[in-house]
Amino acid sequence: MDNILILTIVVVAYLFIIGYLGWYGYRKTKTALDYLVAGRSVHPVVMALSYGATFISTSAIVGFGGAAALFGMGLLWLTFLNIFVGIIIAFIVFGKRTRRMGHSLDAHTFPELLGKRFNSNFIQGFSGLVIFIFMPLYAAAVLIGAARFIETTFAPNVNFTVGLLIYTLIVCAYVMAGGLKGVMYTDALQGAIMFVGMIVLLVFTYVKLGGVVTAHQALAGMADKVPAKLIAGGHLGWTRMPTTASPLWWKLVTTIVMGVGLGVLTQPQLAVRFMTVKSNKEIHRAVPAGGIFILVMTGVAFVVGALTNVYFFNHPQFGNISLDVAGGNIDKIIPAYINSAMPVWFVYVFMLTLLAAAMSTSSSQFHTMGTAIGRDFFERILLGGKQSQYTVLITRIGILTGVLITIVLGYRLPGSIIAIAAAIFFGLCATTFLPAYIGALFWKGTTRSGAIASMFTGFFGTLFWLLFVHQAESEPMGICKFIFNKPTLAHAPWTMVDPIIVILPISLLTVFLVSVFTKKMSKEHVEHCFKHI
């Protein structure tokens, strides 16, 4: 009970600081520019921490950490892509142009950047609608990640449902009041807490398992403990990649590594961060903080996730691999490991780490859902692009609606869903937005028709692939079975290949071919877009 009291005091103190930062953001928010892009004057370290804390959620720590306990350390390829694509390419190649073009076009959101670049209300409205409809899937994955840990830490002392609702209300309050300024100030604090928590987790784990090399050797020596079902799927042990082209390899490489690794470039809540700084100097200065942050957050989650197998197998109370200890639900592996292996005080530190990780991502998701419906759909489609005094109000109503959809999804999604739900949203964003985004930033010859055609190809192509080809989704969704009386229309290996591998090249080709054969954008407009590039 004393421990619960200490935790309560720590959490309440943390929430007070968050509340203060949200209020500070509210006080500093005078205009729609402040509410939507934090006045374009954010400090580089705040920007980097906010980007990282938004990118890394409970989904990455609990969901993908649990996936590492299943797949092994091969998941580190995602850490590499997260740094190489998510920081180096995103900041240096995309970020600088996004900031400049965002300034030139006075864009406040990612869909608005695409819409103004191609002079199309439809592109902005369609993008906003896609984000508003599908982001709750990813947001629900983050909520579940937080809920899983609350469930295993507090049960049965705290009612799970009430805890989740209070969490959502707090995030909702400071996002609605403080806008992006409130979100980014709180993100920076939450990012710092996450960084410390994960460093301590890595040190504790390696010390507990006898050091870096000893821990890895113990994990390598467990290759004969892999269950027969996983061996049949291509699993070769937790320190080895699965057999090339095996079902597990397709899932690890195409869905988890490629889907999330490439999808990060077109996450609307991340792309907007580049529009919040006043010059490229801030972007240069944000790169080191971003790279170190992502290495520590994802690298630690994936290494520790894989090493939980050593801990559980050698522990007399368990004597089994992580997957069996968690009853087959990989989302429960990291919470079970923390609660069993770590000292009580660290369980509470980690609780705060996860709370910070969830809140920093949820807040940006809620803000993005709100701007997608308020700024991008309502103002652009319904008002034809006219500025409205109701934009911020509609954005706040959009936030509330998105949150309600997220809560409902959070209760209805099945187990072991966290990593997959996040990967689906990242993949959908990549296939729908990436070709048009690349065309917008790097090729003056990209036309409005080319951008629209590629977005349609990416969006509907991905939906078709998920509903009728990729068996992991087509079978539980049941639409293919209902229409064609079989779970998928394709044969292996296509039934295991993620849509991003097939649809992204097609939508990239679409933006190029359609742009070559359709009416060019006016020279004046294109010159204005590329004025500072």
Binding site: T79, F80, K96, V212, A215, T239, H284, V287, P288, L295
Partner: protein
Amino acid sequence: MTLLGIDDPKVWSVYLLCILSALFCIVYGAANWNKGDEEKWEDEKKVEE
């Protein structure tokens, strides 16, 4: 070949790649620390009204 106790080159190589890419971020930031410091259209803000 084994490195750091990891027996698959495809895994230990990415373990090192992750660390190297984070180091690249530090070097890039340091090398460009003061670089990239770069027509009123305030009017938008006024349109506060």
